[in-house]
């Protein structure tokens, strides 16, 4: 019975120490995030968002028209050439 009581006391100490340590450790992590990570984020904002938006816009253009930029350029130059020729004749 005494040994059971002894183990209970050990388990109680373990519970107390364990919970205090878990809270302390994760609490330190909260401080780390608030002090270090947030400052880092302010100093080095994400460049990915800006660079990503441009190619995305291009991609949607291509997808919605179904025409690649090369084809657009080729048609453009053909139209210009036609207009020039047409203008010459007139």
């Amino acid at each position: 019975m005494d040994s059971l009581l002894q183990t209970f006391i050990e388990a109680g100490t373990l519970m107390l120490a364990g919970m205090v340590f878990v809270f302390a450790f994760l609490g330190l992590l909260v401080i780390f995030i608030n002090l270090v990570l947030v400052k880092l984020a302010n100093k080095y904002p994400d460049p990915i968002i800006q660079s990503k938006s441009k190619p995305k816009a291009k991609k949607t253009n291509i997808a919605s028209n179904g025409v690649t930029p090369q084809v657009v350029a080729a048609i453009g130059s053909a139209v210009t050439q036609y207009k020039q020729k047409h203008g010459d004749k007139a």
Binding site: L14, L26, L29
Partner: protein
């Protein structure tokens, strides 16, 4: 005639013992749960099959020279398999929700009360004849409350290898039962008004924060709890591979091929511990019961902590997300989201619940480190 007799004696039918038959049925039960009920199938299929293989008479799968013997000693006894799984889990984890709302770490911490409270329960069971749990056994059983399979297997293999089979079965069973166990506790501890609380949208988390975070966690573990560095270190390695963006191939391997291969052998190795002499005893019933208690207390303490946080904090906190503090990623977060949607169909709590959910993974790894440091000697 003598040769016929020898042939008969080499058959399974002549060598079966009742315990082996029962354990094969337990293996079939696990296969049924995995295949028909979809309960943690990735682990229960190899585990259930391992249970069948290890109980085949004469074949000697788990004896020296047998496949499962080497799988167990190479991967589980050494702790390698759970650690590799942890690396894969790290590679799959996005800490964005946690970094955006760091106070949810306290919810992950509170949910670990389930682990430490169950220590008491396991010791208290010693008062009943038939139970003889040492402090090491009790600690290994209590970690079921962390609802983290690899952590439970890692700690059990270090503190109580003879209980590993029952602890792994209990841990994965309760993780699969999250959608059944948690909602009644969540509803009982919260009011309808609290469940309807809508939380503010999370801020954007930059890449540099996500890259520095695992390194910071590792540094703190090195300083304050080196006993937890095997688990936390592998977890942080996986997460850094995911977030740094320069080793996508390694990150992809860690969260796909590698974790799949290791899961097969981890399941088989744990299954090899499901032998009649180690599983068919009254202690297994105690472990299954204590696992449920641990899990329920963990859920309840997470919800209560979230309620307290809601009262003290300037920002509103829906107490349901506290239940996700018990790891079981991402199932517990999905459950919080589902119960929240029942109360308010426009309230999506999934991302908010992912914060305490991944905090719970860290919390249970820290708790395992504490138990290893204090009772591991």
């Amino acid at each position: 005639m003598e040769q016929l007799n020898t042939l008969w004696l080499s058959t399974g039918l002549a060598n079966f013992e009742l315990g082996q038959v029962i354990m094969m049925l337990v293996g079939c039960g696990l296969l049924f749960l995995a295949i028909a009920k979809n309960f943690e199938p990735l682990l229960l299929v190899p585990m259930g099959f391992g249970a069948i293989l290890t109980n085949i008479p004469v074949a000697g799968f788990s004896e020296v020279g047998g496949l499962l013997h080497y799988v167990y000693y190479a991967g589980i006894d050494t702790g390698i398999f759970p650690l590799l799984i942890f690396m894969g889990v790290g590679a799959m984890t996005d800490f964005g929700a946690l970094i955006a709302n760091p106070k949810t770490l306290f919810l992950g911490a509170a949910a670990q009360f389930g682990i430490f409270a169950t220590l008491f329960g396991a010791i208290a069971l010693n008062a009943i004849p038939g139970f003889e749990f040492t402090l090491q056994d009790a600690s290994a059983i209590a970690i079921i409350g962390g609802a983290d399979g690899p952590t439970a297997i890692f700690l059990a293999s270090k503190l109580a290898p003879e209980l590993l089979g029952a602890i792994a079965v209990a841990a994965y069973s309760y993780m699969a039962l999250v959608p059944i166990i948690q909602p009644p506790i969540m509803r009982a501890l919260t009011t309808e008004k609290e469940r309807k609380i809508e939380m503010a949208q999370l801020r954007h988390v930059t890449k540099i924060e996500k890259v520095i975070f695992p390194l910071g966690v590792l540094l703190m573990t090195i300083f304050f709890l080196p006993a937890a560095t095997p688990l936390v270190g592998m977890f942080c390695l996986g997460n850094l591979m995911r977030e740094c963006g320069v080793v996508d191939r390694l990150s992809s391997t860690a969260q796909n091929e590698l974790i799949n291969i290791v899961t097969i052998f981890l399941g088989l190795g744990v299954g090899s511990k499901l032998s009649a002499d180690q599983f068919l005893n009254v202690e297994t019933l105690g472990i299954l019961g204590l696992g449920a208690v641990a899990f329920s207390i963990g859920t309840a303490s997470g919800v209560l902590m979230a309620k307290l946080m809601n009262k003290l904090s300037s920002e509103q906190v829906n107490p349901l997300i506290g239940a996700a503090g018990v790891s079981a990623v991402p199932m517990a977060a999905r459950v919080a989201n589902k119960v929240g949607l029942e109360a308010n169909p426009h309230n999506f709590l999934l991302m908010h619940a992912m914060g305490p959910n991944v905090a719970g993974v860290l919390g249970s790894a820290v708790a395992a480190g504490i138990l290893l440091a204090l009772v591991g000697q």
